[in-house]
């Protein structure tokens, strides 16, 4: 199960809406081993595409150096699908590289409603998990 705060949930959805129709992407870092997504980092989609996302390579290095320095890991890796359902595509599955992360997919295809779903992607096996949104993780 993914447990995150209302503020983090809202920020991810707002980022996805803001970048629509391009895909939005980012990370929520947390202390190593805690499974607590506390620090949201919006990343630029270097592909600037409605069907693809990729973190800029220099940004990626800075992100991991910063997480390392803070004893953090990527608890959540999120991105949006802007015309399709919030489910990992073949590309998402092939490129998933954080076996410990919750992969959050947000679909912005409907302007009035949002789909927000979370998955584990390990060795190309996708497992959906419940999402619990709490007022605070403190």
């Amino acid at each position: 199960m993914l447990t995150l705060s209302t503020a983090t949930y809202d920020a991810i959805v707002a980022h996805a809406r803001r970048d629509h129709p391009d895909e939005a992407c980012g990370v929520v870092a947390g202390p190593v081993g805690s499974d607590r997504p506390l620090r949201l980092i919006e990343m630029l989609n270097a592909a600037r595409s409605p069907t693809f996302y990729e973190f800029d390579s220099a940004d990626l290095l800075q992100l991991y150096k910063q997480m390392d320095a803070n004893d953090e890991e990527p608890v959540v890796v999120y991105h949006s699908h802007t015309a399709t359902e919030a489910y990992p595509s073949r590309t998402d599955i092939n490129l998933a590289s954080e076996p410990n992360a919750h992969y959050v997919l947000v679909s912005t295809r409907e302007p009035e409603s949002v789909e927000f779903r979370s998955f584990r992607i390990v060795d190309s096996v996708v497992t959906e998990e419940p999402v619990e949104v709490l007022a605070s993780l403190e």
Binding site: E23, S49, E54, A58, L61, Y64, T91, S97, E98
Partner: protein, 93 residues
């Protein structure tokens, strides 16, 4: 050229869980061969069958993405820091 190599979580199965391993090589290609001699299977996750760096693997030498410095031919010096990071990428198509 003795260098330090940072290994990402997903590849630590090849390094007995180590986050950092020592390596040696005059350039990146030689370094990967050296690592392969102790961490069998690692090179195949980084380099394609035709011998080029995987599109979705990023390698940095002292914070420089090697795509801009000669890829596998990037020269190494004693004390360099090499970081391997899988791309974070995907998309609906």
């Amino acid at each position: 050229m003795a260098v330090e190599v940072k290994i990402p979580t997903i590849l630590r199965t090849y390094t007995d869980g180590a986050k950092t391993v020592p390596g040696d090589g005059a350039n990146l290609s030689a370094l990967l061969d050296d690592l392969e001699s102790r961490h069998s299977g690692l090179k195949g996750r980084l380099v394609t069958e035709d011998g080029s760096l995987h599109r979705f693997v990023n390698v940095y030498v002292n914070d420089e993405d090697v795509r801009f410095t000669g890829s596998l031919d990037t020269k190494l010096a004693d004390g360099d820091s090499v970081t391997i990071l899988p791309a974070v990428a995907g998309g609906s198509c």
